[in-house]
């Protein structure tokens, strides 16, 4: 694997390997402190995403490498009309690995096709964001110790939420998982996810609008926010944004070892009081994202013969 564009580019074996590396980094950070000495990561961000960029940059620094950061399309060559393909070729000359964030779907694929160094998709519009899924998966693994036999509730915007689709894709590859899809009618999981993934693989799932009713059966609760930018009109957004707000009270019937995840940033869909509950894992998830990005950078640079 030269680049990571979609989470399904990784086999389950490769995923296991990344999880193992991340776990080892967590246990022995010093061992990796010089692993990428002299190597440069370009963070090429054509749309702002401070958190994702910081995570990549922190990951590279902790591996002893350097970062060249390009943010804001307005100040970059894209504003002068340079194509993504040309940008990829140019940036390859200066760096050893590229993380790209772009508002257009498929931009990371075009970058990978044209770059001579490994490329990581740090989000291409509403399409894929595989390193978020890596963060989600490490969190599930560290909290549950397995990827199989889990009842996974996903809640909120299941229509536009790309992290949800990736998570369903990734977790559908393991045995014995069940999905509980919790959303307002208007934001249900698109039929192609149900048809091409869940039904095709015979994975049990239920769709509901009632979070509290299903709470007791969940092992994982993956909350998402309703994103303003996915709506064409403000009215719909305002009507749907408060559909699900997770409170301490709603957790009273939840399992004791439930793991609550959220890709962050949150708006108000998880009340701040929940943060003190030991089942809240979303800040650990942020940290796990950095460790998985470290593991991924290591893997890609190793495979490219750079380290």
């Amino acid at each position: 694997m030269k680049s990571l564009i979609d989470i399904l580019d990784l086999t389950t074996e490769e995923l296991d390997e990344l999880i193992a590396t991340a776990q080892d980094i967590i246990a022995n950070p010093a061992k990796y402190a010089e692993a990428c000495r002299g190597k440069k990561l370009a963070t090429l961000f054509f749309e702002p995403s401070t958190r994702t960029r910081m995570s990549f940059e922190a990951a590279m620094y902790e591996l002893g490498g350097n970062v060249i950061s390009v943010t804001g399309a307005a100040s970059s060559s894209a504003a002068k009309g340079e194509s993504v393909a040309d940008t990829a070729k140019t940036v390859s000359c200066y760096t050893d690995i590229i993380a790209i964030r772009h508002p257009k779907e498929g931009a990371a694929y075009v970058t990978a096709k044209n770059a001579s160094v490994p490329v990581i998709n740090a989000g291409d519009g509403g399409h894929c964001h595989p390193t978020q899924t890596l963060a989600d998966l490490l969190t599930i693994y560290r909290e549950k110790g397995r990827f199989s036999g889990l009842t996974i509730g996903v809640c909120g915007d299941l229509k536009f939420g790309r992290t949800v689709h990736s998570l369903i894709n990734a977790m559908s590859r393991y045995e014995g998982n069940k999905f509980v899809l919790i959303s307002p009618e208007e934001l249900k999981v698109p039929s192609y996810v149900k048809k091409d993934v869940l039904q095709q693989k015979n994975i049990p799932y239920v769709q509901t609008t009632d979070l509290e009713a299903v709470m007791p059966e969940l092992d994982i609760l993956y909350m998402t926010r309703v994103q303003r930018e996915r709506f064409f009109n403000e009215e719909d957004y305002l009507r749907l944004k408060d559909s699900y707000i997770l409170t301490v009270d709603k957790l009273k019937n939840a399992k004791r070892d439930l793991a609550i995840l959220h890709p962050l940033p949150r708006v108000n869909e998880i009340s701040v009081a929940v943060d003190d509950d030991p089942r809240a894992c979303y800040f650990k998830q942020v940290l796990n994202g950095k460790y998985m990005r470290m593991a991924l950078i290591l893997k890609l640079l190793r495979e490219a013969g750079q380290i």
Binding site: V84, A85, K104, E105, V110
Partner: protein, 138 residues
Amino acid sequence: MNIDSINNGIVIDHISAGNGMKLYELLGLAELDCSVAIIKNVVSQKMGKKDIIKVDADIPVDLDVIGFVDPGATINIIRNGSLVEKRNIEMPERLVNVIKCRNPRCITSCEQELDHVFKLTDREHKVYRCIYCETKAN
């Protein structure tokens, strides 16, 4: 043009009724100077109704386009008034610059020099998806 007799040319036969015009457009037959005939709703024993396209010139046709629109079609090459070759059509694995991705958020919508490429992802249901954004072709 006598549509029954072509001396040198191509006959695309067994087109499912209704697909004739689509093929005419996607094959770029409108740009040809030679005679082109689309015969619609021809009674066929095998198919009920079918469309036929006859082109009165020995032009190269993009078999991938035909395979995408109508894999059941057949091609007859006519030379000096007689049938010299009959070709069956297959669904192509990839389609390059035949159709455009309609997703406004796709990278191909803003970068003109990119090829529009679709991949056959489900042969049974004849599903093609954009290689960039995975949007279904229709």
